[in-house]
Amino acid sequence: MMHPLFTKHHTCFILQSTAIFTAIFTAIFTAIAMMTSLGYAQDPKNKNQPNPQTAPNIADKKTEDNNASEKIPRIFDRNSPEPEDDNPPPPKNAMVNFAMDPDRWIDVIYSQLGGSESTFEQFQRRRARISLNRIELICGLDESIREKVQATADLEIQRFKTEVLTLASQAPRNPTQEEYQEFYNRIHKLTQKYQPRMLNKTDPFLWQKVLSTNLSETQQTAIKNEAEKRTEYREQTVRLETVLRISRRLGLTSKQREKLLPYTQSQPESWKTLERAWQTLQSFPDKEKQNLFTNEQIAELKKPLETTDELQLVVREFGEEW
């Protein structure tokens, strides 16, 4: 039964309203669906990968936007645009951006020789003294020769200091890039003598020459033999270190290491580094390999050494002939 107030008119009204609402919702859903399929409501992860159908338009639009932002700074962006990195290199005659007086040049020179003038002086005196002390132990040394050599060393230090002053006084105060480089090369030439011996090819120090001329033949032979013994000690250590590394790589036993040691003494050059020793062992005749190693070790020896990108310590030893 219908309510008396509920007429046909009302029923029509409700049906019409329902139809209108349905149409509105349908329109909204359709709009959302179209936007989805056209790529407007993309996943944030895929923002940079627009729908291929619409990509050209979007790309064009973006390019326009970028160009516009490069040309016209935004009103809320108070930062001035960064300068482009296409600055040409400075011309050779351009000034370096600091003034160099002689004192600063002197600092530059001594910074390569221990830090300061007094440190340099102290180091050089000590160097001569240590050599003399060693010679005294090996073959004895007259006090007169010692004093003479020490005086020569002092003189040499003073002469060097004068050379530094002279060079610094000649130095340009406001050098161009080219002048600065040129002068720096002169400094390097001057200080080269005081670098470790292997790094410089210059003559020995004056005090070393004086010492040589004042030593007898016997003393010089004793010093030479002594230097050879010390060198041999160092080289023996290096060879043992290589044997230790080979032993770790191949898993050698103490008996095998003992068998290997004579080979290291007969070919010292081949046992200075792990790589060289590995190659040497690989080139051993099969008979010797079988004498030294087990079958598993021989199989291991056929493999190349594995490499690692870790930092590795390298020690350069320059030796000292005195």
Partner: protein
């Protein structure tokens, strides 16, 4: 509404349907996933499910972790060969040792992999020392090895330590020779003095790439009066620097190969799980 739907292209119709239907389907379409993929998962039978779980891939490891494990296995394998060379293992002893190591190596040396994987570029993990200690412990714990065999292995390790001491002290003496101007006879004396003062920390320092410093006080007793007052040569005519990379002295063994010694492999019942490098799908 139907006519409107029919008038649209296929993808729009699907979208409409999904929006009106379920949220899940909408998600699937939005990500261009086909209908087949949103079907409910097949219910696996318990037995199959168990098999799938058992075959689940091992956790992915990064490159450093993998390298650490390979090196560790390589070192262990070499130690096993050395144990056999020194102790002459019979098949029973070999079986016991290789099974114990295969089943325990990962847990026993886990801290080694972790230290290496988490270390900085200098590395600083002494694989050799750690593996040597672990194998020594396994040998000592073995019930089938005789006391003589265990003693022989201890002596073998002691001979290694002697060589290590000789190398590290040799480097220290060579340093002192340049610094204090030692003669060859003084070098021999300094070697003895340093040997008496030996510290295990020196070996650790050396393995990490640093030569321990010889203190003046340690060797002052062998210096002459003039040497004592002269002090040390700071130049020392020696340069130390680091290079990036180079050959390593560590052996390597695949994680998929079983340990073996004296022709005896570890038991098949002990799993050697295949690890997956990070970044690769198992």
């Amino acid at each position: 509404m139907i006519s409107l739907t029919l008038a649209m292209n296929n993808s729009l119709a699907r979208n409409l349907f999904c929006l009106g239907g379920s949220l899940l389907c909408t998600f699937a379409l939005h990500n261009n996933v086909g209908y087949a993929q949103v079907l409910p998962a097949i219910q696996l039978r318990p037995a199959i499910r168990a098999a799938v779980v058992a075959a689940a891939p091992a956790p992915a490891l990064n490159d450093k972790d993998l390298a650490a494990r390979r090196w560790t296995r390589g070192l262990i394998q070499q130690e096993l060969h050395s144990v056999h060379s020194v102790c002459k293992l019979n098949p029973e002893q070999a079986k016991e040792l290789v099974d114990a190591i295969e089943s325990q190596w990962k847990s026993k040396l886990a801290s080694t992999f972790r230290s290496y994987a988490e270390s900085n570029q200098r590395g600083g993990v002494d694989f050799e020392f750690r593996v040597e200690n672990a194998v020594r412990a396994w040998v000592q714990a073995s019930t089938s090895l005789s006391e003589d065999q265990k003693k022989a292995w201890d002596e073998e390790i002691e001979s290694r330590n002697t060589l290590r001491r000789r190398v590290v002290i040799g480097k220290m003496v060579a340093d002192a020779e340049r610094k204090y101007g030692l003669s060859s006879s003084q070098m021999q004396e300094a070697e003895k003095l340093l040997l008496d003062r030996w510290k295990e920390a020196w070996w650790v320092m050396y393995r990490h790439g640093t030569t321990p410093e010889t203190k003046f006080a340690w060797i002052s007793s062998i210096l002459s009066e003039s040497q004592r007052t002269a002090g040390s040569d700071p130049n020392a005519l020696r340069q130390e620097y680091y290079t990036s990379g180079g050959a390593t002295d560590l052996p390597s063994k695949s994680l998929n190969e079983r340990f073996e010694v004296a022709g005896v492999e570890s038991d098949q019942s002990i799993s050697i799980e295949a690890v997956t490098p990070a970044g690769q799908k198992p």
